[in-house]
Symmetry: C2
């Protein structure tokens, strides 16, 4: 469970951080108000860039805490600038790196419940990671990338997936 969660999260949040750095640099070079990117959406009823970053970080702090059986840290969701979004990513990485392999390995069968409005979903640890956290995490990081690409920031696939 550990190799499929924490190291993957750390790498993908690092890639997201680098993507946001490129967007901030692009805004500065082109004299575009950074809030144009922070508030950009791909459709009127999709979330803006800032919310994509908030949800991506929520997913991984929630996953690390729930698999380890510890309390999920609460964040205020008040980020409105690139430095604030970077700070959120930074504190998320610090938190998930504080969770050890020993705490997470063997959590395949741990029961995990999530509330979605009035509905509650129940998972075992492995399905929670593979069927909920990973697809959603990749979704929100990809949408963040796509919002910026759609708005002209020069990014490539390697910025998303990292070097290998």
């Amino acid at each position: 469970m550990y190799p499929a969660s924490i190291p993957v999260f750390v790498r993908m949040l690092g890639n997201l951080s680098a993507i946001l750095d490129k967007a901030a640099a692009h805004a500065e070079a082109k004299k575009i108000d950074p809030s144009v990117f922070i508030n950009a959406r791909l459709a009127p009823d999709m979330y803006p860039l800032s919310r994509q970053v908030q949800i991506a970080t929520d997913l991984v702090k929630g996953c690390a805490a729930r698999l380890a059986g510890i309390e999920v840290p609460g964040y205020e969701d008040n980020e409105t600038t690139f430095p604030e979004l970077q700070a959120r990513i930074g504190k998320t990485v610090a938190f998930i790196q504080s969770v050890t392999a020993a705490q997470i390995d063997d959590s395949e069968e741990r029961g995990i419940s999530l509330k979605f409005g009035t509905r509650e979903a129940h998972f075992l640890g492995q399905a929670y990671l593979l069927d909920f956290v990973l697809p959603n995490l990749y979704f929100h990081i990809t949408i963040a990338y796509a919002i910026l690409r759609h708005n002209g920031v020069e990014l490539g696939k390697m910025d998303y997936v990292g070097n290998y």
Copy 2:
């Protein structure tokens, strides 16, 4: 290795297939030429919808075959309609379901080489799945979803991630 690959691929390709069905139905209801969606892109230098589906299916047939140590099936990449894209997804699902857990489990340490133009990348099986196949697969399915959302097809997050 098996639970993190084949069942995940089958579920996500099923979600992608259902998303494309909704797009085809939307095109028919609104009397929009389906090729408008098939050729739609989020940026001029991003791939259109059809190529997103081709790459997503390439990733999973390549992964299933390489982890099992068998030949990767070759496809022609000539799909230009929704039924053709659905047929490609269907034959991909049939292929990956023909690969058994016994063939894939214990492939964590299998050496896998991929060519990117003139460059070659070397992975062990686990890193190939976790750091290459899954992030790229989710990327292309998310971009397919985002292209359609951006073009007004009524989809929600549950169409992407499936029910749980």
